[in-house]
């Protein structure tokens, strides 16, 4: 398939272009609108998301029949895989914008920048999901990172937020630097930046013995540092609890879902089409390394979550753990594995964002992110409490909620490849995870609110948004279409 030239590509690239336009429009509108209270900017960016959503679908359905299309001389690729992630990411962005509308901790004067950055980061993630060239990979990664550093530190005059930003950027810079070094080695060995060619060349070289497996291994590990830091996998996870706790809640939600998803998109495309060939696997069995990483990630995440008192931080650790579960699927190099990951990402999107939404609500009501703040919620706001319970149990992976079906797919895929120990670790972990999720449920239902049991009332909009997360969390598992994602993996699975 011949890569398209830059001019031809533009049409296929319309979603990203639209994003840029809207980002710019947001900044301009912010200059026009003087009234700091108006939420015009937010609504504009919402509109943007919807338009882009439409364009994504249009581009996908009008070009997908041509199979994967390589754009900009092989820099990015438009295929079903990237479209999937674009949809996913847009959902996350939309949700985040809605949260931000309700969140009261954000500085009203900086709305314009805020939403513009949100759209920008979405653009970066789009690229992460679709780039097929080392250069593009690095640029997209940096775009996302830089913007998220800023967003994490967005709460001016809040030391925790600034600290979060500082740790985030230091950590991120080193990680991406390490990754870049790995990329350079890779480039050196393969003599090309294009993933497809890298795979081919590396295979040849290894076969010819012109390259030491150790060199390839080092390159892979260095790159893993960069990717692992995006998906917060042990041992590259340590930034995430602090950052999640310090950052504004909507951003925490966004990072925990969107940037993790984008990270997985990058990870899958890069590792599968870059190092997925069987010959390369024989030389360097990196999947085993991943298996260990995944086991460690989920265990550490769950155990660290146990004693947490701050719900945000608790959810941060839990999202680390979920990163571990997702990695199990990445170990397998099978369409089923990828299908499971994609399915789980969708489920995870809904249940985790839902949980964070409740966190936002409670933070607004109670001004607290601590578990104590949730005490007696069932009597104060039953619907919210039940919704939260559903999200948490879904995160635990208990039927009939979608989380269970997601876990089920993953474990089935893992067991099929004979990784029994990994599956067992994962399952025991989900038992452990029940405990800390149940602590929140316990606070909400089994403990009395104490002296004040005033009915806290939320706007109908809140409930509407809540239901947007609850209903999929309950239903997804029962719908057939969601089990067909393994086809999506076609463009990234290397031809064996």
């Amino acid at each position: 398939m011949q890569p398209l030239s830059n001019i031809e590509s533009l049409l296929y690239f319309s979603p990203e272009i639209l994003l840029v336009i809207f980002a710019a429009a947001v900044v301009i509108l912010d200059l026009i609108v003087k009234d700091t209270e108006s939420s015009a900017v937010a609504h504009l960016s919402l509109a943007g998301c919807i338009c882009v959503f439409a364009t994504v679908l249009v581009t996908h359905f009008s070009f997908s029949h041509e199979g994967p299309v390589s754009l900009f001389l092989g820099m990015v690729q438009l295929d079903v895989f990237s479209s999937f992630f674009k949809v996913l990411l847009l959902l996350a962005t939309t949700a985040t914008i809605l949260f931000s509308l309700r969140s009261e901790e954000l500085d009203a004067r900086l709305k314009g920048e805020y939403y513009a950055l949100l759209l920008a980061i979405t653009l970066g993630m789009f690229l992460m999901a679709s780039s097929t060239n080392l250069l593009m990979i690095f640029i997209s990664l940096e775009t996302v990172s830089l913007t998220s550093y800023i967003l994490a530190g967005f709460l001016t005059h809040n030391p925790r937020s600034s600290e979060a930003a500082f740790k985030y950027i230091t950590y991120g810079a080193v990680a991406s630097g390490t990754m870049l070094f790995g990329l350079s080695l890779l480039f050196g060995m393969a003599g090309s930046g294009d993933l497809g060619q890298i795979s081919v060349r590396l295979t040849e070289l290894l076969a010819a013995g012109e390259v030491a497996p150790l060199a390839v291994l080092i390159a892979i590990t260095f790159i893993l540092a960069g990717v692992g830091y995006k998906i917060a996998s042990v041992p590259f996870h340590m930034w995430s609890p602090d950052v999640y706790e310090g950052a504004p809640i909507p951003i925490t939600a966004f990072l925990s879902v969107a940037s993790k998803s984008a990270g997985f998109a990058l990870f899958i495309r890069f590792f599968y089409s870059g190092f997925g060939s069987s010959e390369l696997m024989q030389a360097v069995d990196w999947t085993f390394m991943l298996a260990i990483v995944s086991a460690l990630t989920m265990t550490v995440g769950n155990l660290a979550a146990l004693p947490q008192q701050n719900v945000k931080r608790l959810l941060a650790y839990s999202s680390i753990a979920h990163g571990g579960y997702l990695l199990m699927g990445g170990v397998l190099l099978t369409p089923e594995g990828i299908g499971a990951i994609l399915f789980y990402l969708i489920v995870y999107l809904f249940m985790n964002l839902g949980a964070f939404h409740v966190v936002v609500l409670i933070a607004n009501e109670e001004g607290s992110e601590m578990i104590e703040g949730y005490r007696g919620l069932a009597s104060r706001a039953p619907l919210v409490a039940w919704a939260m319970a559903i999200f948490l149990f879904s995160l635990t992976g208990i039927p009939p909620f979608a989380g269970f079906f997601g876990k089920w797919l993953l474990f089935a895929a893992v067991l099929e490849q004979g990784y029994y120990w990994l599956a067992l670790v994962g399952l025991l972990n989900s038992v452990v995870s029940l405990y800390y999720y149940a602590r929140i449920v316990k606070a909400m239902f089994l403990e009395d609110a104490g002296e004040e049991t005033t009915q806290t009332s939320f706007s109908t909009g809140t409930f509407a948004l809540l239901s947007v997360f609850v209903i999929p969390t309950i239903l997804i598992g029962f719908l057939n279409i969601f089990y067909t994602f393994s086809n999506i993996s076609v463009p990234v699975i290397p031809m064996q």
């Binding site: 208990i398 089935a412 067991l415 089990y483």
Partner: protein, 503 residues
Amino acid sequence: MLLSLMIFIPLLGMIAVLLLPRESEELIKRVALLFTLVPLALAVALFISYDRSTAGTQYVVNVPWIQAFNIQYHIGIDGLSVTLLLLTALLGPICVIASWRNIEKGIKAYMALFLLLETGMLGFFAALDLFLFYVFFELTLLPMYFLIGIWGGPRREYAAIKFFLYTLFGSVLMLVAMIAVYLNSGAPGARTFDIPTLITLASTEGHALNNVNFQIWVFLGFFIGFAVKVPIFPFHTWLPDAHVEAPTAISVILAGILLKMGTYGLVRINMAMFPKGLDFFCNGIGFWGNSLALLGFINIVYGSFCALAQTDFKKLVAYSSIGHMGFVILGLSARNDSGITGAILQMFNHGVISAMLFLLVGVLYDRAHHREINGFGGLGTKMPVYTGITTLAFMASLGLPGLSGFVGEALSLLGAYDKFKMLTILSTIGIVVGAAYFLWTLQRVFLGTLNPKYEELPEINGREILTLVPLGILTIVLGVWPNFAIDMFRESVTNLIDVLHAI
């Protein structure tokens, strides 16, 4: 269709209850009662129209659900499940009535959860697709957690989470085993969760599922999952806490149905699907060959002695359940018709009797607000009717002939003696000890001079009697005419035994 209705009507009921305003409590209760009575009516219809002459499953519904894994919504009943289904449908309204007065707060949520729970239980007993089976199995978990946790006693949080964690721990192992079975059930694409199909596959020579070692491991996986529910020593420690803390109606469900889910699973999955695995654990050769029977024996003796030592009325009943489930395990391990029939009868009867016992404990607790056995005394003069019914329940539970408890116990013992002579003889200790703790309790609570504290204790009221009478009648009827129940599942048992001896 009838079956699906029966399963999902309580779910509709839940929705209905949720739609009602939380203030109109009476209405909520009535609606809940209605939506539990309908399944009962259906169950009766089922009982009447059920064809007792065949071992095959009846009222089968089989529609594809998740094609990707060819998971089906496949339900149906055979003799084994129909009995438990009836029991569930019967206990439903009884528990609603039992909760009529003594649930103070949040009756709405309570009823909603209860209805959800009933759907879970009914579905579990009807499911013929392994995946569906598991989903329903877990579906009972959540409502139970809340029902114990919110409406329970002082240590409810602890009891609830303990119950939840134990069961979840068991069920994840079960999940692994389940997936292993699925993956080995055929080539990719041809795999299935369909229980009947799997059973046939497992019994076909040379099939992956037929391999002995595979069966042993998978057996273990499922077994632990169910053993927690039954509960089998040493996975039983959740039970006393859960029972003591749970509100009356929930203890009834817990003892009446949830425990049976464990044993039902053992029969439906472990025995029918993995006869070779089962053979390894109860062929009577060596340690492993006796392990299952040994567990049964331990449950009986251990549970009975623990019960003997209790001073909390409810805890005593709870431990007695452990003892009685031991007879089920013992009977099943015998693998002959009297053993298995006895076990199944024991399941059903224990469901009825323990339900009675917990209801009775509840009656006393509502009046005296404590359960300390030694704190009572001489109630026999004050509340003769209550005493009479309690005596009936106790006698049934300690296996007095003429009442249902005896038949199950006797049959399982008769069956088990065939295979495990020594263990069975030792297990009969349980009979004596069982009599001992029940009579001792009877004496400490009802006999002797009336404890002046309770001069004014009101007699059991009509509503409470209403909950007890159906169960009492069942106890007597099944004791006098066991065939009444056995007819339902005789064929199924014969069929099962053929499967077991086919290996």
